[in-house]
């Protein structure tokens, strides 16, 4: 049943749609008051897992516990959860007030208790002026606020968010993201949040569960997932622009491990291997564009080399410059003010201690 401070425990949960295994014996232990983000590409099973926790999908195997109670076969309304959906899913024929109070009326709460909760939720979300309006008369941001309010009035321990910001434009998304974070700090409820947006995941989560193929690949704090991805998939999925991957082999030179790709030799003595580094192993060297330095800073790095700039992509805040290392593409983030130009010969450098190295066969971190 997990530790006593567990809020949601998913144990060995499987889900099959016909012959397709959507969730494969999945385990997840969410602590009380924790903000967990389920992150992954579409089709990875993250929304499916959330629907299983909500009770909107029946699991094929395994058990689900919420606040210490086995809720595997309970109805959604009895699980002590509330849910916010991507399409808001407001009842169009009811006013905002009707939307907020619908669940409470179904639960046959007394009138004054319903009023109290609706009032509190609308105060927190600043939707009091909208209470008499219908959803059609609201903007996208207001609708999602109301949808969050509908979750809030349920007064439950666990909040489930299914890509709540994906239908909003970029500016509103940022605003509501901050608001959700503020809400979590204020309420201290357990929150499970599904998204494919890594910015949302990074900024909101206490811990991120990166999913692929119905399996949690890595469950860790955002900075740990960013700094020490367990496999090549996680490394490539987290971070924008994406991590550079350079194919090569691990060799030994003078008793020290070295990564060789083409004519480039990278000293790995600063890299901490998970296990033993075996010489001759085919491997992939991963370095993030923002960890590659240029100019004098590059020369000061443990590894540096000459490279020529091929393509430059200005991104506003900074510029992505494409060079090559060992005959393979390498992107780097450069200051927009001092960005190199195509054709420039520049010095690049990075700290191999901050890099990630994966087995070329298994894709697992070495």
């Amino acid at each position: 049943m997990g530790a006593t401070n567990s809020s949601v425990v998913v144990r060995e949960v499987s889900l099959n749609f016909g012959a397709v295994e959507v969730l494969k014996s999945l385990n997840l232990d969410v602590r009380k008051g924790e903000f967990i983000v389920l992150l992954g590409p579409s089709g990875c099973g993250k929304s499916t897992l959330l629907n299983c926790i909500a009770g909107l999908l029946d699991v094929s195997g395994g058990q689900i516990f919420i606040e210490g109670r086995n809720v595997t076969w309970e109805e959604p309304k009895d699980r002590g959860i509330a849910m916010v959906f991507q399409s808001y899913a407001l009842y169009p024929q009811m006013t905002v007030e009707g939307n907020l109070s619908f669940g409470l009326k179904n639960a046959r709460l007394p009138r004054d208790e319903i009023d109290r909760r609706v009032k509190r939720a609308s105060e927190i979300l600043q939707i009091e002026p909208l209470l008499k309006r219908k959803p059609a008369a609201l903007s996208g941001g207001q609708r999602q606020r109301v949808a969050i309010g509908r979750a809030l009035v349920r007064d439950v321990d666990v909040f489930l968010f299914d890509e709540p910001l994906s239908n909003l434009d970029a500016k509103l998304r940022n605003e509501l993201r901050v608001e959700i974070k503020r809400l979590h700090q204020r309420l201290a409820n357990t929150m499970i949040y599904v998204t494919h947006d890594q910015i949302e995941a990074m900024t909101l989560a206490d811990r991120i569960a990166v999913m692929r193929g119905g399996i949690i690949q890595q469950l860790d704090a955002p900075h740990a997932i960013y700094a020490r991805p367990v496999n090549r998939f996680v490394a490539g999925f987290i971070g924008a622009p994406g991590m550079n991957f350079i194919d090569g082999t691990i060799e030994e030179a003078g008793g020290k491990p070295v990564f060789r790709a083409g004519d480039a030799r990278i000293d790995l003595s600063r890299y901490s291997f998970e296990g033993r580094s075996e010489a001759g192993r085919k491997a992939v060297f991963g370095v993030r564009p923002e960890h590659v330095a240029t100019g004098e800073a590059a020369s000061a790095m443990p590894f540096s080399a000459e490279a020529s700039v091929e393509i430059v992509e200005p991104m506003g805040s900074d510029t992505l410059a494409w060079t090559s290392l060992g005959g393979q593409n390498l992107s780097m983030r450069a200051d927009s003010e001092k960005a190199p130009r195509p054709g420039d010969r520049i010095r690049i450098g990075f700290d191999p201690g901050r890099a990630s190295i994966f087995d070329a066969g298994t894709d697992m971190r070495l």
Partner: protein
């Protein structure tokens, strides 16, 4: 200073446009011609019909034949006109339309949102029913209804119409519900609403546009039905269409075209009115606001 919209505009009346309008006008006339002949004929005495052109205007217009068609034309031995048939048709329609729509609505809702083992199969079978010729089923249903004592009764004909409306109506409602965001259903479940709660409180209020479509379909279908009415309604409940047939086919003396025309127009009036009145009720956008708008 605001900039006025200016620049070359497409010509208003081109040769193509004139061609289209000409075609439309001719088509409209072509389809209106039979109706015009019917109305003209229904207002002419018999000698005018025999001696004149069918397009000629009535020289002594009269509504006597309309009155006769409604209240005193003979259908076989009875001479009460169409009026008993009209009221029979009203009874059948008023009972069968709500019954079939309510049932189909629940079917479509359940098949869309509450999938269970075999529900897809059931749906396939139901839709297949839409392709079975009615005549094939007439005898088995006569047998079944007479076994339960409903053959030739009002409940009998209502049941028959309800059953035969099921395939197409269920298909319509299921597809309508499938077009609604499934998250609405999920949200209602999290909010603790059950099968009937979600149906009545969430889905019904959103179903107005598709219900209007279903009502039109059923009213016209049931009103215009001849076969089932003839076979299943029984002598006391014969619908207007069957009565019309009896009036037209009753052959004592000369064929009274005027009365026949008036009776036919009267019978067709109800579906016509339904179409005219309900056109504007084909409302859309009831679901606006439920999802990103």
């Amino acid at each position: 200073m605001a900039v006025e919209p200016a620049g070359p505009k497409p010509g208003k009346l081109t040769a193509g446009r004139i061609g289209i309008y000409a075609f439309l006008v001719v088509s409209a006339l072509f389809f209106l011609l039979p109706l015009a002949v019917m109305i003209l004929t229904s207002m002419k005495p018999m000698d005018e019909i025999h001696n004149g052109n069918i397009f000629a205007l009535p020289q002594h217009p009269t509504f006597d034949y309309w009155v006769k068609a409604w209240s005193s034309a003979c259908t076989g031995r009875d001479c009460y006109g169409l009026s008993p048939g009209f009221f029979n048709s009203v009874k059948i329609t008023v009972l069968a339309v709500p019954a079939s729509i309510a049932l189909a609505m629940i079917n479509g809702y359940a098949l869309c949102f509450w999938r269970y083992r075999g529900s897809e199969f059931l749906f396939t079978v139901l839709v297949f029913g839409a392709f079975v010729p009615y005549q094939v089923l007439v005898y088995p249903i006569i047998y079944a209804l007479s076994r339960v004592g409903l053959f030739g009764t009002l409940p009998g004909i209502v049941i028959v119409h309800t059953i035969f409306g099921m395939p197409i109506l269920t298909l319509i409602f299921r597809n309508f519900f499938a077009s609604l965001p499934v998250e609405l259903f999920k949200a209602a479940r999290v909010d603790g609403a059950g099968f009937w709660g979600i149906f009545v409180r969430i889905m019904l209020p959103m179903s107005l546009p598709i219900t209007v479509v279903a009502v039109i379909l059923q009213v016209t279908g049931i009103w215009n039905d001849f076969l089932f009415g003839l076979v299943f309604a029984g002598h006391d409940n014969l619908p207007m269409t069957v009565q019309l047939n009896n009036i037209v086919r009753t052959s004592t003396g000369t064929v009274e075209y005027s009365t026949n025309m008036a009776a036919t127009i009267l019978t067709g009036l109800v579906p016509l009115v339904v179409y005219f009145v309900s056109g504007k009720w084909f409302v859309r956008g009831i679901a606006a606001g439920a999802v990103k708008g």
